[in-house]
């Protein structure tokens, strides 16, 4: 790992879907240990930016480096290794219906080959941070939208990733629960995790003292500290 440079760096990155520009000439950096926000109206390219970071999409132009590693030069076998350093709160959750909450969260650890004993305690701890310990045996469809959202957060943080990406993590939450989730993120950030949160909810970063990248129609239109 590159110890000096930024954790995430976009250099002149463009991305098109079916010849439709989704991101245009984006250059930005997120420093190691920084907590930053990505905002903009719906369709402005927030999700696309996060997808480029966790390598679900590849850029059409420009380069993306994650912890000093050039994303486009990673081989097929390099991608999983980078993803193991990244926890993602997916906008569409990606919970598996046929597994209970415990198994859904445990999956992140099983993929990393972690021993069963350790999995038990770590999943329990992680469910505790999102206040869902009592739902460990429930299935996703038995949970409310807010509860599902918190399961996804638990899964994203359980492996203690270097980078946490969150796509509209409070989109389904009432203000109170949203505040709880933000507290969780701040705790994780305090331990040194780099966090990038995509949201159109200004409340999340108001008076946070964090950097906010503002997107509009695929262009980076401003960076400010709120």
């Amino acid at each position: 790992m590159d110890l000096d440079g930024p954790m995430i760096h976009f250099q002149n990155v463009s991305k098109e879907y079916d010849n439709q520009s989704a991101l245009h000439d984006i250059t930005l950096s997120v420093e190691k240990g920084e907590m930053a926000f990505l905002t903009g109206p719906s369709g402005s390219g927030k999700t696309t930016m996060l997808k480029l970071v966790y390598l679900a999409e590849m850029p059409d132009h420009g380069s993306i480096t994650i912890a000093g590693k050039e994303a486009t030069s990673l081989g097929e076998s390099g991608i999983p290794l980078i993803r193991r350093h990244i926890g993602v709160v997916f906008q569409d959750f990606r919970l598996l219906d046929n597994r209970n909450v415990f198994e859904n969260v445990a999956l992140a650890l099983r993929i990393r080959g972690i021993a069963e004993r350790e999995i038990k305690t770590r999943v329990a701890d992680s469910l505790k941070t999102v206040n869902l310990r009592h739902k460990a045996d429930s299935y996703p469809r038995q949970l409310s939208g807010g509860e599902q959202q918190r399961v996804v957060i638990a899964r994203a943080v359980v492996a203690e990733p270097t980078v946490l990406l969150a796509d509209e993590p409070t989109g389904n939450l009432d203000p109170e629960t949203a505040e709880g989730v933000m507290r969780t993120f701040k705790d994780i950030h305090a331990k040194g995790t780099t966090i990038l949160i995509a949201t159109h909810n200004r409340e999340l970063f108001r008076n946070s003292g964090k950097r906010v990248f503002r997107l509009n129609a695929g262009n980076l239109v401003g960076v400010e500290v709120c």
Binding site: Y54, A56, E76, S77, P80, L81, R83, R84, I86, V88, F90, R94, L96, N98, L107, A108, R110, I111, R112, G113, E116, R155
Partner: protein
């Protein structure tokens, strides 16, 4: 690569898609069963006919009144041939005596024959590897050219028919086994492909969470192996039942059935063969998929 969790995933999938798995297991069973039955039949025909050529011999008739040294020369010449296993000299007196013994109960046939009409001869047995109809024909031809030999006689028809049957059976057996094995591999291939597509969403999530190729693939290989092994095991059990319940029981009233050989040692490898075919099918399916 195959962690305990991979086995758990494979087991989950086996029970979740129980009917697909059962169906392909039964198909594998059927294929292996047909191969095994053909092998069983071939094995028995082969065993029954294997020793026939040993009883087979050529008779080399010598010219009349050949002097003793000449006879020895012919014997030496025949014996020096690579194909020859043994040579036995039968003098015309021995031959006549044997004929008389054979016809002991119908002596009238020989009435009026005082002179011995039979020639001296050699009874030649060939090595088993020279027993094909073509090598025997060549051998007879060259032997006939040795000075002092008047005629060479052998059961040409019998030998070539036997040879053809055994060769034909072997070719048909290998062909059948090859076709059915390909079929079995294809069944495992399609099964794994179907299962893979059914779980596409789940696999996509695995990958986004950082799963390696091996992590995604291992359960499918295990599943292929499990389907193949169970198919082979079921086939083994079915053959065992067939042998003990059907063949031996029929053998009680029809003795021929009792002499049938059951190549248990070879059949015991069926689960392993099934496993190999199952893993091959799964591996091909996974190799052709993108990850």
């Amino acid at each position: 690569m195959a962690s305990p969790y991979a086995f758990r995933l494979a087991l989950q999938s086996l029970s979740k898609d129980f009917w697909i798995n059962l169906l392909s297991m039964l198909t594998i069973f059927a294929g292996l069963f047909i191969i095994s039955l053909s092998f069983f039949i071939f094995y028995n025909i082969d065993a029954a006919t294997r020793n026939l050529p040993e009883k087979f011999s050529l008779v080399v008739y010598l010219e009349d009144n050949l002097p003793k040294e000449k006879v020895d020369e012919v014997i030496a010449s025949v014996r020096s041939r690579r194909e020859v296993a043994s040579v036995k000299y039968i003098s015309k007196e021995d031959a006549f005596r044997e004929l008389k013994a054979t016809l002991k109960n119908s002596q009238y046939v020989l009435e009026g024959i005082d002179d011995n009409p039979l020639p001296d001869s050699l009874e030649v047995k060939l090595r088993r590897d020279a027993m094909g109809s073509e090598p025997v024909r060549k051998f007879a031809e060259t032997t006939r050219k040795i000075p002092g030999v008047s005629e060479v006689d052998y059961g040409e028809k019998f030998l070539s028919t036997l040879h053809d049957i055994r060769n034909g059976m072997r070719t048909a057996g290998i062909l059948l086994a090859a076709i059915l094995s390909t079929g079995i591999i294809f069944v495992c291939y399609s099964t794994v492909k179907i299962l893979f597509y059914r779980r596409n969403d789940e696999i996509e999530t695995f990958k986004l969470l950082g799963a390696t190729k091996g992590f995604v693939r291992a359960p499918f290989l295990i599943e292929g192996a499990a389907i193949g092994t169970t198919g082979g095991l079921t086939c083994l059990i079915a053959l065992y039942l067939l042998h003990h319940v059907v063949i031996l029981r029929i053998g009680a009233s029809v003795p021929v059935f009792k002499t049938l050989l059951f190549p248990a040692n070879i059949f015991l490898s069926l689960p392993l063969v099934g496993m190999f075919l199952g893993i091959s099918g799964a591996a091909i399916a996974l190799g052709r998929l993108k990850y």
